[in-house]
Symmetry: C2
Subunit: 207 residues, 2 copies
């Protein structure tokens, strides 16, 4: 029962807060992780790889999967679908992996509704809004228009930080990685992931 | 916000499961802890020290404290009072310490009712009932009668493991210490311990 068990870790936070960097470093530390890749109907962008950044599918395929109940959660954003397929998540949990979702505030809400107690949720952000602006400007992958959209979205997202169990302020990267790793380790230890009834039975009815 | 903050860790489990050893080792690893010492009206036993094992008080003193609302929780067991004073706990939390309670299942229930989300609860037990019997017999501080009472109590306590957030099976001491330390670290990171409204305000209204 002290052994690793499957668990779910939801990581949200503004674009530019460093979620991907933190998650990758944490996964390296932990091992036995499964990073959930979303499925989308939006067109593939330059540099994106199918099955790495997203599973790219057609609208018809996506809607068929909705009807057949294959999604853990999904949303329609600017007439593109985004969703999380249930099957690989179930498989990873059975293999006692830590399933990681890099997902927005709405996604967290949907997953919480479906999986409740077995998820652990973390909100990652920069120390300040100014710092987020600096990072978004410095990485210069986005146009000024996209940056200002991201900033506006970040403000709305941060207001919902109270819906998360944990808050990680990504100030010093090394420290933030350690913090996230500690949270992930504890997530795996939560009693919700263990078969409590079986444990009690075995413990009380000694052979 | 990544800094340490005050938090509450409740540790329960059968007598003989190794709670004290684990807690002491964890406190050494963590630092900045406050171990809550219970107050009792039961007579001091040989080897016990006032203020170390318990705060020993008279029945009159205890009942006065109850009336004045000084207890976080208390119970009457075999006509002796046992309780947790609120004042030192509040002080330790203000000093951002991790407050640790070594308390039974009833005590956990009472603390949860009062402090809800800000507590993290851990149940510590041996891998098996047989192992608990072995440990209780080997340490030989208790009479056969006391041991059989403890075993009966252990069975009842283990049935309530589902009321805890975490389960630590104390099989290999080193591993169990690490597990408990990870849980305690995560307990400190819980968002309930942080001033979320203040964080949002500062973050959104950048200077």
């Amino acid at each position: 029962m002290n052994n690793k068990s499957g668990a779910i870790l939801v990581v949200s936070g503004p674009s530019g807060a460093g979620k991907s960097t933190l998650i990758n470093a944490m996964m390296k530390d932990l091992g036995d992780c499964y990073f959930s890749i979303s499925t989308t109907t939006r067109p593939m962008r330059e540099g994106e790889v199918d099955g790495v950044h997203y599973h790219f599918v057609t609208k018809e395929e996506f809607e068929k999967d909705i009807q057949e109940g294959h999604f853990l959660e999904y949303a329609l954003v600017h007439s593109n679908y985004y969703g999380t397929s249930l099957k690989p998540v179930k498989k990873a949990l059975q293999e006692k992996k830590l399933v990681i979702f890099d997902i927005d505030v709405q996604g967290n809400e949907a997953i919480k509704k479906q999986l409740g107690d077995i998820t652990t949720s973390v909100f990652v952000t920069t120390p300040t809004l100014t710092e987020l602006e600096n990072r978004l400007t410095t990485r210069s992958t986005d146009s000024a228009e996209v940056i200002s959209k991201r900033i506006a979205m970040a403000k709305e997202e941060v207001k919902r930080v109270g819906e998360y169990e944990f808050l990680v302020v990504n100030d010093k990267l090394e420290e933030a990685v350690q913090t996230l790793t500690t949270i992930a380790k504890a997530a795996r230890l939560k009693i919700e992931h263990k078969d409590v009834q079986e444990f009690i039975q075995k413990w009380v009815d000694k052979a």
